[in-house]
């Protein structure tokens, strides 16, 4: 459980920092950099979520579907 809670906070932290970076870069008119920062943050989080969803599906398979 401890590891997962860490990752929850990590996701939230990345979200907040990326949002701030986006606003700061937007204000000075560097819109393309802002987009890139958001994209990278999103990919990182998506990676985390995808790996845990994979974990979940493996567990479901092994418990319910007898494989």
């Amino acid at each position: 459980m401890g590891l997962e809670v860490d990752i929850i906070f990590k996701i939230a932290g990345v979200g907040i920092v990326v949002a701030f970076l986006h606003t700061v870069l937007d204000q000075v008119g560097k819109k393309e950099y802002a987009q890139w920062v958001t994209l990278f943050g999103f990919i990182y989080i998506l990676f985390q979520v995808a790996s845990i969803v994979d974990d979940l599906f493996q567990k479901i398979k092994s418990v319910f579907l007898f494989q």
Partner: protein
């Protein structure tokens, strides 16, 4: 999984204390995640959405051991009652499919794609029905046999 060895020894297992702690843990994680999602949602809704998905997975993974216990008990009951294992397996598979479909449908609904959610639910229902065909045919055959011709 960790419980499986213990389970083999006793048919009737009484869980030790600690369930209350576990529910407190889950509620705490869910509440924290809710607050964090609220904070992020203002700036980046898609990040908040991913966070919610993640927490859903975490909570289920936490529960998976207990679900395994329950299923194991059901299996043992079935074996003791001399029920054909194929039926029990099919029912368990149906439960699994129902859970997966429900999970995906909830997430898609949260993301604002109601139409997709209903399609997933439809797919789940149809697949469950298809899996239940052998059981249904056996049932119908039994009923037909019972009817005196």
């Amino acid at each position: 999984m960790t419980f499986s060895r213990k389970l083999n020894q006793s048919f009737c297992f009484n869980r030790k204390g600690g369930s209350t702690i576990e529910i407190i843990k889950i509620v705490g994680v869910a509440l924290i995640a809710t607050f964090l999602a609220l904070i992020i949602k203002e700036q980046k809704p898609n990040f908040a959405f991913l966070l919610v998905v993640f927490v859903g997975c975490v909570i289920f993974l936490f529960l998976v051991d207990k679900i395994f216990e329950i299923i194991h008990m059901l299996e043992k009951l079935a074996v003791n009652a001399k029920v054909n294992m194929v039926y029990v397996e099919t029912i368990l598979k149906i439960i699994g499919i129902a859970y997966i479909a429900e999970f995906a449908a909830q997430i898609t609904k949260d993301a604002g794609q109601g139409a997709l959610a209903s399609k997933i639910e439809l797919a789940g229902k149809i697949i469950i029905l298809a899996m239940a065909i052998p059981i249904l045919t056996v049932l119908i055959e039994t009923i037909i046999k019972l009817i005196p011709s």
